[in-house]
């Protein structure tokens, strides 16, 4: 039954993240610009609004879950999740029918509500289903599966293609969710009690509330920065034919399999590092990898003559960094929470660091394209941000350690 819990968690989170990566992040751009005919600036505005709405809904939902005790009631969470999946299925089916700007903005608003509700509910399932010892590994499986699937299929990043794949996944998912949420199953009964054993997160145990709050907000800031840098650079990179058609959208299956396998490798590494070393080392690797990757891209853009294909090491390091932080994102928020506050913590964590950062940077990337900023100039800004973080984080850790040692000396 415990293994079934692992499988259920992996299925829900990897399908949910695949939905987020493909249908939502890339599909909305295609829907707004190509199918509805809006300008890039209008779509970027809609995406920024989407992010803010999703964040507000996630925080409100998370707060409510904690207040009324739903955060530690698995059956209620499964019922909410059932309605979220039904809503998202309807949105998926209706997406290709959206044809006017008004319909587009309404569709985006409803989409943000379902995602906002879904965020704290799905991320908080970890405290019911996954023991602390296995969180890094399971988070790696989720990230690896979602990214591998997204890298391999579909080839065309078109809303209709995404909608077809998502419908095939979501219709059976609705049935499974209905059975789990509304029928009395022994398996669900067992899962419902597990949070009493491993609900208190790894980084919360033994920490005083002040330190805990500080660690949580630092993690939010760091994850926000990582998500922001990723989307800011990625959206412009995939706009550039020489980069996208030699990597993520290469007509050669071997290249796409390489990208998918690199995601799996990166996620597996992150899972091991998270379990053994903790979050600080992982943040260091993530920031270092992003800085190095953007350095590679700017170097390639600045020096390689036209007509020369970029080497695969560029997307390789990119996907490694992305898999690292995605794995961390799945495991971190439950490990910074207790059953009493997992709703608000995951709502804030995933909402601010994940959604708000991704969509704000996506809209900024669309804006920079709209005003005619060249890719090299754009990536220079991204690179500067990445380098600043890669250098600033270890310096901050060092200063913090220095302060702790000074306090210790004063106390003695």
């Amino acid at each position: 039954m415990v293994t079934a819990g692992y499988l259920f968690y992996v299925a829900v989170l990897s399908a949910g993240y695949y939905y987020n990566l493909t249908f939502v992040q890339l599909g909305i751009i295609d829907l707004g610009t190509r199918l509805v005919g809006l300008t890039a600036s209008q779509v970027s505005g809609a995406m920024a609004g989407f992010a803010v709405a999703a964040l507000v809904v996630a925080v409100v939902t998370g707060r409510m879950m904690d207040r009324v005790g739903w955060s530690s009631d698995l059956r209620v969470k499964l019922r909410i999740l059932f309605f979220v999946v039904v809503g998202q299925t309807l949105l998926t089916v209706t997406a290709p029918l959206v044809g006017t700007p008004v319909q587009f903005f309404v569709w985006v608003l409803v989409c943000s509500v379902t995602l906002g509700v879904g965020m704290p509910v799905t991320f908080s399932l970890m405290i019911d289903l996954i023991p602390i010892r296995h969180r890094g590994g399971i988070a790696a499986v989720v990230a690896g599966l979602a990214f591998f699937a997204a890298a391999v299929y579909p080839l065309q990043w078109r809303l209709v293609e995404f909608a077809r794949v998502m419908c095939a996944l979501m219709v059976p998912a609705v049935v499974v969710m209905a059975v789990l949420a509304f029928r009395r199953l022994r398996m669900v009964e067992v899962w419902s009690c597990q949070h009493e054993r491993f609900g208190v997160g790894r980084f919360v145990r033994g920490a005083d509330p002040g330190t805990f709050r500080f660690v949580f907000w630092i993690s939010v800031v760091l994850m926000f920065s990582v998500f922001f840098i990723d989307s800011l650079g990625f959206l412009r990179i995939i706009d550039t034919p020489v980069f996208i058609y030699t990597s993520w959208q290469s007509p050669e299956l071997g290249v796409r399999l390489f990208i998918g396998a690199s995601h799996v490798l990166g996620a597996a590494m992150a899972g091991v590092l998270y379990t053994v070393f903790g979050r600080r080392w992982l943040f260091l690797w993530i920031l270092g990898l992003f800085a190095f990757t953007h350095l590679l891209y700017t170097f390639q853009l600045g020096t390689a003559p036209s007509g020369i294909d970029p080497p695969l090491s560029l997307p390789f390091f990119y996907v490694l960094a992305v898999s690292f932080y995605t794995t961390l994102n799945f495991a971190l928020w439950p490990d910074l929470s207790t059953p009493a506050n997992i709703g608000i913590r995951t709502g804030l964590g995933v909402g601010i660091a994940g959604w708000l950062a991704s969509f704000l940077s996506t809209s900024l990337a669309l804006y920079s394209r709209d005003i005619g900023l060249s890719l090299l100039e754009h990536l220079r800004y991204v690179n500067a941000l990445a380098l600043l973080l890669a250098v600033g984080y270890p310096v901050a850790l060092y200063l913090r350690r220095m302060r702790a040692l000074a306090n210790l000396r004063e106390a003695s």
Binding site: R133, R202, R205, M269, T275, F277, G288, L296, L320
Partner: protein, 287 residues
């Protein structure tokens, strides 16, 4: 880019940095390319590069893999470190054509400033078993290092071997990640030309770390041998390990992967124990 090209790439960059007129370097890594105009040094990797009739490139050109076909003119030198070079009828190499290794074919109707050959791979009929010599020499060298380390720094070696035995997944992960990022950073630094000395220093440290990891593995193998003298057990353990690695590498693909995993986990063990200074202890987790 295949990993085997990296040492040759760094060698080519090193040679290019010694050319006073070279300010930029272009590396061509894959597919077919026709080069008609170009500035700075050109390095041919796993690609087919053609200089067509009537085209003139300044050089120098370094071939570290793939194929270079010269039908036009190279104003500077051409150095072949590996791969194939074809100098076709009517082609001109105004500088020196230096052949170090690889296949070279030259049409009789060509104009070459100077031809030199430096055969580092050996020529003539090889003595039976001579292919084993480099491997045996390396095994003996590592065995000697293992003997000394086991006698003088037994705790350091014990820390490394305990890490590979008790935490193989962690050491393999750290080793792989460190290797991938380090090798890419070193290549990246080499491209700046100015940082080539740092690259060479980094490569030396990397090779020493890999060697230390193998000695750590040898120490572990030595603990299973019926020998009580620590130094001797480690030395023999290294020899046994190297022999086993040579045999395993005969199996295509899987053998290479096993050998790579073993070497990388050794490297990871060296890193997580801070070169053997402290035993590796993973962060404690609640049950």
């Amino acid at each position: 880019m295949s990993l085997s090209l990296i040492p040759l790439l760094i060698a080519a960059l090193f040679l290019a940095s010694g050319e006073p007129e070279v300010e930029t370097v272009q590396l061509i890594l894959s597919r077919d390319h026709q080069v008609t105009e170009h500035e700075g040094a050109l390095i041919v990797g796993d690609a087919t590069v053609t200089i067509p009739p009537g085209a003139r490139v300044p050089g120098p050109v370094y071939v570290i893999g793939g194929e270079l076909r010269v039908a036009g003119e190279v104003a500077g030198d051409v150095t072949q470190l590996a791969g194939t070079v074809s100098v076709e009828a009517g082609a001109v190499i105004a500088g020196e054509l230096q052949h170090v290794a690889g296949t070279l074919s030259i049409d009789s109707a060509t104009e070459i400033g100077r031809r030199t050959s430096l055969d580092l791979t050996g020529s003539g009929t090889a003595a039976p078993g001579s292919g084993l010599l480099p491997g045996m020499s390396l095994a003996l060298l590592l065995a000697g290092v293992g003997y000394l380390l086991a006698r003088r720094k037994p705790n350091a070696l014990a820390n490394v071997s305990t890490a590979v035995r008790a935490h193989p997944v962690v050491t393999l992960t750290v080793g792989t990640l460190a290797f991938l990022t380090a090798i890419s950073t070193l290549v990246f630094m080499a491209f700046t030309l100015v940082l080539i000395p740092v690259t060479i220093l980094g490569l030396i440290v990397g090779v020493l770390t890999l060697g230390y990891g193998l000695v750590g593995w040898g120490h572990l193998v030595g603990t299973f041998l019926p020998i009580h003298r620590r130094g001797l057990a480690t030395a023999l353990g290294v020899v046994v390990l190297m022999a086993v690695l040579s045999l395993v590498s005969l199996v295509a693909v899987v053998g290479d992967l096993v050998v790579a995993a073993l070497i990388l986990s050794g490297m990871g063990a060296v890193l997580v124990t801070y070169y053997g200074v402290a035993p590796f202890r993973p962060e404690p987790l609640p049950d």
